[in-house]
């Protein structure tokens, strides 16, 4: 028994998850204060948050649907983060991946499962390219990747907007809206949880989590990538080709974000629609931080954010408060999670009070 207690005290896993839960509690606490100051009913808001996120089958479907791309964009952020880089461009990489997948899914004609896989791959590859550019600039020319990934994000959004606008080359002439043609049946990712929008995309996301975990912690390349992130000088000493790793890291990040976009096209909308993402890329940044840069944590973080988004919509519908309280809560969670010393201070204080 005592060795179990010792494990509990020393376990990094428990400590890290404890910190996460504490941050979430603090964030919700401050959120309550904001609601109270603004004059909204706290119980009503939380009841609707819950209802919208987990209340019934449809809500759970909403949560999962929204969580799916966030899992991938969180992975995208955290893979880059593990190498010491900041990928802020997941949103743009998503768009690039989405449109590539849409084109391949609509223009090519292949048998069922193969078509979907090829379309996903196309999305991943396009995202990889969009991540490779800032990776190359960083590795070869020392250009700050924070700025380049962000700028390229805006470029990607503008570019795809142009492509699907009424006079653009990929525009679907049957409709007024900025979008591409419907993809082939053979490329669609089947729905899993009827009547919700949850599709096989979530399985793809789950597989991605496993692959990323395996890559980071069970392969020599992943070991080297983590070493570069923790100590580039020691990695250099250990014979690691740092520049290659940085390029690889951002390219991988691009693949993951590209897959997120492809998943949305192939599983949810069945075409590329301009503005299809309510900010999943930016959510990925938040998700990567909430996940404390661990792939398995990305699932939890994405579920949290998917729940907040779905719940927020319900709050908006119910009129209990502006639905954006969910965004505020999300921001607060991030803000508390990122201050290690603060959390540790409070953690110790709480434990002392409990004793």
């Amino acid at each position: 028994m005592s060795s179990f207690i010792r494990w509990v005290r020393q376990s990094t896993f428990l400590r890290e998850t404890g910190i996460t839960f504490l941050s979430i509690s603090l964030a919700f606490g401050v959120g309550c204060i904001i609601l109270w100051v603004a004059g909204y009913s706290i119980p009503a808001v939380f009841a609707n948050l819950w209802k919208g996120a987990f209340g019934n089958r449809l809500s759970i479907g909403q949560t999962l649907t929204k969580a799916t791309p966030i899992i991938l964009t969180s992975l995208s952020f955290l893979v880059a983060f593990r190498s010491g880089l900041f990928n802020i461009g997941a949103e743009g990489q998503m768009y690039v991946g989405a449109i590539a997948a849409a084109v391949v899914a609509a223009q090519l004609h292949l048998p069922a499962v193969l078509h979907a896989i090829v379309s996903l791959a196309a999305g991943g590859l396009a995202g990889a390219f969009w991540g490779w550019i800032p990776g190359y600039l960083k590795a070869r020319r020392g250009v700050n990747e924070f700025v380049t990934t962000m700028m390229l994000s805006y470029v990607a959004i503008g570019l795809t907007d142009f492509l699907v606008a009424p006079r653009g080359p990929l525009h679907d002439p049957k409709y007024m809206a900025n979008q591409t043609a419907r993809i082939d049946l053979t490329a669609m990712l089947p729905r899993i949880m009827k009547p919700t929008q949850v599709s096989w995309a979530i399985v793809v996301a789950g597989i991605a989590v496993l692959l990323v975990w395996y890559y980071l912690f069970r392969t020599p390349s992943g070991y080297e990538l983590r070493a570069v992130g923790k100590s580039p000088t020691a990695a250099d000493y250990g014979g690691v080709r740092i520049r290659r790793k940085l390029i690889l890291a951002l390219s991988l990040a691009g693949v993951l974000a590209g897959l997120a976009g492809a998943g949305e096209v192939l599983g949810t909308h069945f075409r590329f629609v301009d503005g299809f993402s309510p900010g999943y890329g930016w959510d990925g940044i938040a998700g990567g931080l909430i996940a404390r840069a661990h792939p398995v944590g990305a699932i939890f973080a994405a579920l949290l954010m998917g729940a907040l988004r779905a719940g927020g919509m319900q709050v908006q519908r119910s009129g209990a408060a502006p639905g954006d309280i969910a965004a505020v809560l999300q921001g607060l969670v991030i803000f508390f999670i990122i201050a290690p010393t603060l959390i540790r201070m409070l953690f110790r204080w709480r434990r002392r009070r409990a004793e």
Binding site: I34, A38, Y40, F86, I88, L137, R141, G142, V143, N144, F146, V147, T148, M150, M151, L152, Y154, V155, G158, L159, D161, F162, A165, R167, W282, I285, A286, L289, A321, P322, G323, D324, I325, A326, A327, V328, L329, Q330, G331, L332, I334, F335, I338, A339, P340, T341, L342
Partner: protein, 290 residues
Amino acid sequence: MSIWELLGDIFTIHLVLATLRLATPIALIALGETYSERVGIINVGVEGTAVLGGLVSALVAFYTGSPWIALIAAVLAGGLAGGLHALWCIRFRANHVVSGIGINILIAGLALFITSAVWGWRGTSSYSDTLNSWYIVGAMFVLIIASQILIFRTKWGLRLRVVGEKPEAADTAGINVHRTRYVYTIVNGMLCGLAGAFFFNNVGRFTTGMVGGRGFIGIAAMVIGNYSPFGALGAALMFGFIDALQMRLQTYIPSQFSIMLPYLITVLVLAFLIKRAQVPAALGQHYIKQ
């Protein structure tokens, strides 16, 4: 239309004025970030702080009816955000970049919530009275010149530079490293708040897309300007020019392309024109005193 008529159509006095106006918020943010990074604190939360400045301007203008009070409130709110970032980085040892990202996310969420709560529209405020944004342009020039003198010709400038280069040296010389970092990060926030107020006064209301990445362009401008106020101004004018140009070009080329132009140019400039700049040596490092 001949090529000369085309050029004459584009390069007018309006272009110059537009350049100045568009450069101003970038210059303010770049100046602010110069201060902050010169004392060793990276602040990518400048984007969110500018948004906060715009939001607070709209809020206070709405409730008080006075754009001048709104301006002061925006500056103070920006300073508050800067102070929060400094607190997180200095006292709680957060990773600077991550803390800045956190501020951006937090303010983005708050902006949506507050606009919905106060005006009922998601992400937009109502229109209010504004002051002439040219006042802010003028203030920007004054601040740039004053900052150039401050940083390179006064004792406070020497001290702040040492704090960013080698905090231990400053500490043993009796300078309070932490306080210096707090002060100039708050100054950074205030300048960003002013930039946000500029956006508001330009348009007359707050919208969430107002700042549109110009905070990050401001950081790029600071890097290109090599951590000096005059350099920041020069880089900001360049960006302002490109931005003004792309608006003018929208009648000739698809709008999506011209909107992309400033961002694309940023990447290209950083990729090809930047040698290793004079980065303050202690940038981004936590300073731990016994």
